[in-house]
């Protein structure tokens, strides 16, 4: 009999350069059937994107979908924040989309989704911030850490673009720094 999971939500943020690491993490989560996973990846807007299909193909086993507005969040499913919207979490555990100003030139913004995940799921969130070339995600991660959620950043020394993880570390001391291999092990053991 499996014990109940420690987390009710896993959020993973990064820029487009973090997609290879993201795929490794998704593979490490193949066994996961209990926790919904939401990816917030910086991407172009107003261009046709097949990122959901690409991730599904590369990660294998689970279909990765872009949620529609007010769609209910299901355990064990993997969601990708759609282009050109901010992705928010409702208290009833459904998604809401928001089309307001970009944050850190980004929509979807990792800060926006991380903070919203914290407001809806409290300390039952696990947040992972990967590589990226701007500071989006740092403030959101700091908020999550403040409310007692577990936060992990990719080791800036191993990140392709270290600004994103470094900003988070500068803002908040109480987060765990892990290499890609360490993150994979951590997720496999969930």
């Amino acid at each position: 009999m499996m014990s109940s999971p420690r987390y009710d939500m896993i959020v993973i943020g990064g820029s487009a350069g973090s997609i290879p690491v993201c795929i490794s993490l998704l593979k490490a989560l193949t066994h996961n059937q209990h926790i919904p996973v939401v990816l917030i990846i910086h991407r172009m807007r107003n261009v046709v994107s097949q990122l959901d299909k690409l991730l599904t193909r590369e990660a294998g086993s689970v279909k990765i979908t872009e949620p529609e507005d007010k769609q209910a969040i299901t355990k064990g499913k993997i969601y990708l924040a759609p282009q050109n919207y901010h992705l928010l979490f409702e208290e009833d555990h459904s998604f809401s989309l928001d089309y307001s100003d970009a944050v850190h030139y980004s929509r979807p913004s990792i800060d926006v989704s991380f903070e919203s995940a914290g407001r809806a799921y409290g300390n039952r969130v696990l947040a992972i911030l990967l590589s990226g070339a701007n500071a989006d995600g740092a403030e959101g991660l700091s908020y999550l850490s403040d409310i007692g959620a577990d936060c992990i950043v990719q080791d800036p020394n191993s990140a392709q673009y270290p600004t994103m993880p470094s900003s988070a570390i500068a803002l908040e001391k109480n987060i765990r720094i892990m290499t890609e291999a360490e993150m994979i092990t951590f997720l496999q053991e969930l």
Binding site: N46, N84, L88, E91, S96, L97, S100
Partner: protein, 281 residues
Amino acid sequence: MNNVIGLNPKPQLSTQAFEQLLHLLHHVYGYDFSGYSKASLLRRIYKFMDVQGVTDGQQLIQLLAGDTSVFHSFLETITVNVTEMFRDPGFYKSIREKVLPVLATYPQINIWHAGCSTGEEVFSLCILLYEAGLLHRTRIYATDINASYLEKARTGVLPMTHMREYTLNYQQSGCTGDFSDYYTALYDHVLIHREIRERVVFLQHNLVTDRSFNEFQLILCRNVMIYFNKQLQNKVLKLFHESLSSLGFIGLGMKESLLFSEYRSKYSVVDGSVKIFRKKS
């Protein structure tokens, strides 16, 4: 002044304070936000609190109760919406290829663009209609809850900043002309030509409380209902249903759908990938 150095603590609103706030807004100022999506409404309220340097609900309520000008600035923050010309070019391509040929069979075309913000998407639609030779017999009613946005939209003036991106969007929408023929550049702004705008009437309309005012062959309401909860979405879809003529079209945002609503059986899918639907009868 409320000076806080470093990162401000995130504002927090208890459920009780949130309810009090909604009550105040409804009964003192006449705006009912009870059907709004709580996640995005709260995000905007927190943003306003941050700017005002207010961290708890009672302070916010006192501030709003005591000063109408604060309320107006609050309303601006809550109803703020960004917009782009030819947002989602694939949507406009589909309107051009699948909807306009049908609209062309009507002697007079009525369109409602609900939640038009500062008008960028309205002008985009006007350009499509112009290129299809339909604009002169079309009347477009463009509505928004926010009066200051409508004021801006009526001027036809847009910032120059995004014109390069809009030009790319225009080209990807399958349009055939030269985008720069439709505006005149004035320093850091552009003016959309009058002949493109002259068939548009900008009107203030609140989707939550106001009723239908005409019958339309096409309704566009893109990325407005995402701010509403499911019940309010259904109420607004009812309003649209009653305002659409038989076999009329409705176009939504890329991640909005009728298929989860009470109205799914009353519409056929014209283009599922860009969310264009058609009333069955």
